[in-house]
Every structure is written in structure tokens, then in C-alpha cells.
């Protein structure tokens, strides 16, 4: 965070605040007037996100033109709070890391917007869907542009809200609404960590602004460790890592473009971004980095194992995302922040591609999601087939596609950090598993003979999707294929130089394995995975694995996602529900009882009291007389006692 500059007024960087504001305004318009706009909602939303994309490109170009040493700009947009000497501002931080995130969010976001035109065609809440998409993009842009932990947190929370709204978009289905709630609540657990991290930071530094926090000189190691671990809790929640990954696979309940948006461009990348952004802090505490890497490695392994036996085409991709995010955590944990961001970008391209392709397939198959009821779709959907092929090979790590480069860099970084050799081997195993389950996914959908009903009276006739859906696929497949060129080698790639002043650099500690051996190992493991899947699912004509009962022990365990959901149900949800039930009784009997009791007591007193109100003037007069006599008697007796006449 050295050389922080304020951009000249009127320059494109000074206008960067428009990037999140434009889609936010569009979202507001669509929410207010969506019903009247009808199908006009889509062009408005697309125009808004495209404008943001254009601005992002302009910002990127402006940064690129600037001196490499002076590419960090802070824009003060407005003052939020001014209390005494404390001033909280809406400030934007524009530096190389932000710039690439902006391009990813707006670029992939715009393609997903376009795709949704075809995918959501005819939905009754068409305009609202686009409003939410816009809002989602705007929130993520606030997140990546924020100059302080607080501004980042605003975007962070908005992203959580938008994911809730979009996952539960078809809230008429009870389980979908449940999935939305699960995502929201699970994220909230992570948010507690984030907030605590902010509290600790503020107590230690007296500010949440990155330009004050990130130099981080003179902070006690204990404080930095605490901040690092607490931020990790937040990142684990948002980026779906163990133990908070459970919401992401369920997030499939949302429409497919939403899945693509959550998995590729927004939301889950936030955790990795956060750790990369805080890299100067993490650099001081390598032990915390070790924790990050182990969380990533375990998540990658568990999710990859689960992905190998799932039957739902979107669930496979969801667990794949969890697993790939684990990869990114390995990278940032090992201190290779550039590699982490690199994988974030390439994964953003090929995972968006794969999800949109899955949506295209579902569209053609009338919302069928079971891969065992597909097969042989290559002829019916040639564009989806070719683009999926690229996405599959990219994620499987086949050179020269993008996934190969980014995974290679992460594995190399893990091997070169002392004490992380086990993590490296887990990563290697996951690379093989990834190749296996993605091949399985691809083969079962596109190759072989059709296993769906293709001749009967209710036969399906899959067909290619409309242009609004395949154009994004085509663009993304180009990105998925070529994104690797961003950083062809860990030391000298373009991205490496670009991010040099944004994130901490990586310094290899040990070289236990030669670089060419590393590449050979990774490639052969990937090839092994692809081969195994081919042998299993192509050579032998695939039979449905559907009947879970036939699975041997391990597969059943993985098919049931290692019973983690059930464990959480038992350990957290059930006790929580019991506690709530108990408190409900106290509420109903105790608190409501007291209130109702007071009301009932008043009513009872009133029933007695109203008898006094006879309505006869003379009885009132009599009461007055009695009262007067009593008072008089009191005075007389009192006077008598006082003067000694009585008693």
C-alpha cells in the first residue's frame, strides 16, 4: 500500500464510483417499475452491467497506462459518518487487484445477464430476476472497490442478501426457500468472524481503512494472528470452505444463471479476495497461512470425493466449485497470492462456462438434472457440446487451457513452502479426482447413447439453445481456453507483474521437487483421472449408479456427502430448535401470560367496578353524602383527639 494517490478530478478513475452505482440504480428502477417494463427489464439490466464493464475496462486501461509504482488510487466518494475526530468515509480503492476483480465481476456478470434473457424467458418474475442480478453485481463491486474493511463489509453483507434473494428466487418451493435460508444463516456464521476481526483491527489500529491497516507495522503478533484467524472464519463462510461449505451445494436451488454468478463472478470469490487483499497482514503470520492452506486442502479433498459420486449435473459442479475454492485457499495459505487470484480468474471463466452449459443442457432436457438420464447430447447441442468440452478440459488441467496454468502454479507454491508437502500431495490427488469427476460429468451428458426417452410418445427432443444463451457460452469458452496466458509462469507472467504492488509476493522456501517433475506429476495424475473415468463410463456402457444400495461403503458415504448435513442437523439445528421451543414456551406462558394476566385482572376489576355505576343520580348523591359524613366525622374525631376531648 505504498504510493497511494488521489486521482485527478474528471479522470476515469475518479469516476470509478459509477461502476457499482449504475447497476444499483438499474436494480432500483427495475424493482420499482418492473411490472410495467415487462420484457424491457432485460435490456435495461444488460445495459447497466455493460456500462459498468465498459467503465471497468476504462479504469483498467488507465491503470495500465500509469506508472507501475503508482497504480494505487483512493477515491473519496462521500462522508458516511462524522463523529468527533472519527470520520468514516465511502472511499474506493482502485489498484491492480481491484481492477482485475472488476473485470471479472462485470465481464462474467454481463455475459450471465445476457444468458438469463433466454434462460428466464417467460418467468413470471422476469423483471425482478434482472433487478436482483443487477443488485448482486453492484454489491460485489462495492465489495471489491471498498477502501476499508467496513466498506468491504457493506458489499459483503449485500452479497449475502442477494444470494438469499436469488437462491430462493422460486420460493414457492419449500426446499428452495430452505436452501436460501441455509445459505444466509451459514454466511452469517462467517460474518461474525469478520465482524470480530474488524473490532480487533479497530481496537489495535484505530482505523479500518486499508491504507492504515495494511502497513500493519508495530502490531503484536498475537493481534495479527487473531485478525488473520477471524478473517479466515469470514472467508470460510463466504467462500464455502470446511466447515461452512454446506450452503453452496444447496444453492443450486436458484436458477442456473444465479449458480453461475455465485460460483464464478461473485460471492464465493469474496473470501479469496479478502485474504489476498489482506496479504501484507497474513505475510507476518505464516502459521495462520498454514491453517488457511490446510482448510483449503481438506475442503478440496472432501468436496472432490463427494463430486465423484453425485448424480445431479449442477451438484457435481457445485462440489467442484467448493473443491476449486479449496485450491485457491491452498494458494493464498502458501503465500502465493498471485496464484490464488490467478486461479480465481481462470476458475471464474471455466466455471461460469460449465454452469451456463449445464443450464443450456437443462433447458433442452426440460429441467432434467440427473446425468444418468442424459447421454449422447453432442449431436443435438453442438455448441453446448464444444464449449463444454473446452470447459471440461480447462478444469481438468489439460495444457494449454487456463486451468492447467493456474493449478500448476498453486501446486508448485504448495510444494515450495516448507512444511506444506502433505498439502501438496492432497492437492495433487485432488487434481486427479477433479479430472475424474469432470470427465464423468462430460461423458455422461454428451457422449454415449441417449439414456433419456427419445422415441416414445413423450419423447424429449433436445435442441440447441437460443443465441442469447450460446453467445455467452462461446465468449466464456474463449476466456476459459485463453485465460492461462495471463500468467504463463509463476515468476515472469503478466499477472505476476500486474499484481506486484497489490498483494504480497511469493518467495519459495524449499525446492523439494524440480519444476519439470512437478508438471509431469500433475499432468500424469490428471491424465490418470481422465483415463479412469473413460474406462469406467465410456468403454463399459454406463449403467445407472442410481441405486445407492448397490454402492460399496465408501461410495455410499460420499454419495451422502459424508453425512455432514445430517451431523449439523443433529449437532446444531436440533438443539437450536429445542432451545427455541423451550423459549417459545417461556414466551407464551411467562411473558405473554403476564401481559394477558394484567389485562384479565383489569377486566375483572372493571366488572366489579361497573356495578357501582348505577346511573341513578340519587344513589350518587347518597354516596356523596356518605362520603361527606365520613370526612366530617374524621375531622371531628381528629379534632377531639387533638384537643384531648376524646380518648
Amino acid at each position: 500500500m505504498e504510493h497511494v494517490a488521489t486521482p485527478d478530478a474528471g479522470s476515469v478513475i475518479a469516476l470509478a464510483w459509477l461502476i457499482p452505482v449504475i447497476p444499483a440504480i438499474s436494480a432500483g428502477l427495475l424493482l420499482l417499475f418492473g411490472k410495467r417494463l415487462g420484457t424491457l427489464a432485460a435490456p435495461i439490466a444488460i445495459a447497466a452491467i455493460t456500462a459498468s464493464f465498459g467503465l471497468s475496462v476504462a479504469v483498467f486501461t488507465a491503470l495500465n497506462a500509469a506508472d507501475p509504482e503508482a497504480r494505487t488510487f483512493v477515491v473519496n466518494v462521500a462522508t458516511w459518518l462524522q463523529v468527533g475526530s472519527l470520520s468514516v468515509d465511502w472511499k474506493l480503492l482502485i489498484d491492480p487487484l481491484t481492477a482485475v476483480m472488476l473485470l471479472l465481476v462485470t465481464g462474467v456478470g454481463a455475459l450471465i445477464h445476457l444468458y438469463s434473457v433466454g434462460y428466464m424467458h417467460g418467468d413470471e418474475r422476469y423483471s425482478r430476476f434482472f433487478a436482483y442480478l443487477n443488485l448482486f453485481a453492484a454489491s460485489m463491486l462495492v465489495l471489491v472497490l471498498g477502501e476499508s474493511l467496513l466498506t468491504l463489509f457493506v458489499g459483503w453483507e449485500l452479497v449475502g442478501l442477494c444470494s438469499y434473494l436469488l437462491i430462493g428466487f422460486w420460493f414457492e418451493r419449500r426446499d428452495y426457500a430452505g436452501a436460501a435460508k441455509k445459505a444466509f444463516v451459514t454466511n452469517r456464521v462467517g460474518d461474525v468472524g469478520f465482524m470480530l476481526a474488524m473490532f480487533v483491527t479497530f481496537a489495535a489500529v484505530g482505523s479500518l481503512s486499508f491504507s492504515d491497516v495494511l502497513p500493519a507495522s508495530g502490531l503484536a503478533t498475537g493481534t495479527v494472528t487473531a485478525i488473520g484467524l477471524l478473517l479466515l472464519v469470514g472467508a470460510v463462510g463466504k467462500s464455502a470452505q470446511i466447515p461452512l461449505y454446506v450452503w453452496l451445494p444447496d444453492a443450486m436451488a436458484g436458477p442456473t444463471p444465479v449458480s453461475a454468478l455465485i460460483h464464478a463472478a461473485t460471492m464465493v470469490t469474496a473470501g479469496v479476495y479478502l485474504i489476498a487483499r489482506m496479504s501484507p497482514l497474513y505475510l507476518q503470520v505464516p502459521d495462520v497461512g498454514m491453517v488457511v492452506a490446510w482448510v483449503g486442502a481438506l475442503t478440496a479433498l472432501v468436496a472432490a470425493l463427494i463430486a465423484c459420486v453425485q448424480n445431479d449435473l449442477k451438484k457435481i459442479l457445485a462440489y467442484s466449485t467448493v473443491s476449486q475454492l479449496g485450491y485457491m485457499f491452498i494458494a493464498v495459505g502458501a503465500g502465493a497470492y498471485t496464484a490464488g487470484v490467478f486461479h480465481l480468474l481462470t476458475h471464474g471463466a471455466f466455471k461460469a462456462l460449465l454452469f451456463l452449459a449445464a443450464g443450456s443442457v437443462m433447458h433442452a432436457m426440460h429441467e432434467e438434472t440427473n446425468v444418468w438420464k442424459m447421454g449422447g447430447l453432442r449431436k443435438a447441442m453442438p455448441i453446448t457440446f464444444v464449449t463444454s468440452l473446452i470447459g471440461w478440459l480447462a478444469i481438468a488441467g489439460l495444457p494449454p487451457l487456463s486451468g492447467y496454468f493456474s493449478k500448476e502454479e498453486i501446486l508448485a507454491a504448495a510444494s515450495e513452502r516448507s512444511g506444506m508437502l502433505p498439502v501438496y500431495f492432497i492437492g495433487l490427488a485432488v487434481a486427479g479426482l477433479t479430472a475424474f469427476y469432470m470427465t464423468r460429468w462430460f461423458v455422461l451428458i454428451f457422449l454415449g447413447k441417449p439414456r433419456y426417452d427419445h422415441s416414445g410418445p413423450h419423447a424429449l427432443h433436445p435442441h440447441e439453445s437460443p443465441w442469447t444463451m450460446w453467445v455467452p457460452l462461446a465468449v466464456l469458452s474463449v476466456a476459459a481456453a485463453g485465460a492461462g496466458l495471463l500468467n504463463t509462469s509463476a515468476e515472469g507472467g503478466w499477472l505476476h507483474g500486474w499484481l506486484e504492488h497489490s498483494v504480497a509476493g511469493f518467495h519459495a522456501a524449499v525446492h523439494p521437487i524440480g519444476h519439470s517433475t512437478l508438471i509431469a506429476l500433475a499432468l500424469s495424475v490428471g491424465a490418470l483421472g481422465i483415463l479412469a473415468a473413460f474406462v469406467r463410463y465410456v468403454r463399459r456402457e454406463p449403467q445407472a449408479e442410481g441405486a445407492v444400495a448397490r454402492f460399496p461403503g465408501y461410495q455410499r458415504l460420499a454419495f451422502n456427502k459424508f453425512y455432514v448435513d445430517e451431523l449439523y442437523q443433529l449437532a446444531i439445528v436440533k438443539p437450536g430448535r429445542m432451545l427455541a421451543d423451550g423459549l417459545a414456551v417461556i414466551d407464551r406462558r411467562g411473558i405473554d401470560g403476564a401481559v394477558n394476566g394484567v389485562a384479565r385482572g383489569t377486566a375483572g376489576l372493571a366488572t366489579v367496578g361497573r356495578r357501582l355505576q348505577t346511573g341513578f343520580v340519587r344513589s350518587y348523591a347518597f354516596a356523596i353524602l356518605v362520603g361527606a359524613v365520613l370526612i366530617a366525622a374524621l375531622f371531628i374525631v381528629g379534632a377531639g383527639v387533638g384537643n384531648g376531648w376524646i380518648g
Binding site: 348505577t614 346511573g615 343520580v617 340519587r618 348523591a621 347518597f622
Partner: protein, 101 residues
Amino acid sequence: MTVPVGYYLILAAALFTIGLVGVLVRRNMIVMFMCIELMLNSVNLTLVAFSRIHGNLNGQIMSFFVMVVAAAEVTVGLALIINLFRLRSSVDADDVRSLRS
């Protein structure tokens, strides 16, 4: 020769009691009203009598105040009674109880 003050007080008490009993037992509002006047005037009599005993004018001044207030009270009260009569064609106090549910 002067009448002892005790006689005045006895007369005033008798008048007050007649008025009180009248208010309590009669239902005709006009009669009740006259009884109230009777009570007020019995009090006036008491005030004047005590004024005489103490040899100052406080009580007499007070009785003037009572008369003024009583005059005002009569105008308001009679107006009420007349309006009630127009409304219900009756001056029976027990008929006026519509506030009771």
C-alpha cells in the same frame, strides 16, 4: 333582646336536612333542584350566624359569593333540565341513565 346563636344553627341544620332528604328521595329534577337551593341557603344562614358571633364580615362576604354561584348554577341547571325535558318529555332523574350500557 337577641336570639341565641344556637337557634340559627338548629334552623340551618333543619333546612339542610330537609334539602338533603329531598335530593335523595325525590325523583323530580325540579324539586331536587329546589332542595339543592335550600341546602345552599341553609349554609348561607350558618355563615351569617357565625359572622355575627365572631364580629367580622368574612362569613357575610362568603354568603354573597355562594349566592352568586348559586344564581349561575340555577341558570345552567334549569337550562339542562329544560333541554332534557325536550329530549325525553320527562323530568324524572331516574330516566336519565343512558350512559349505563
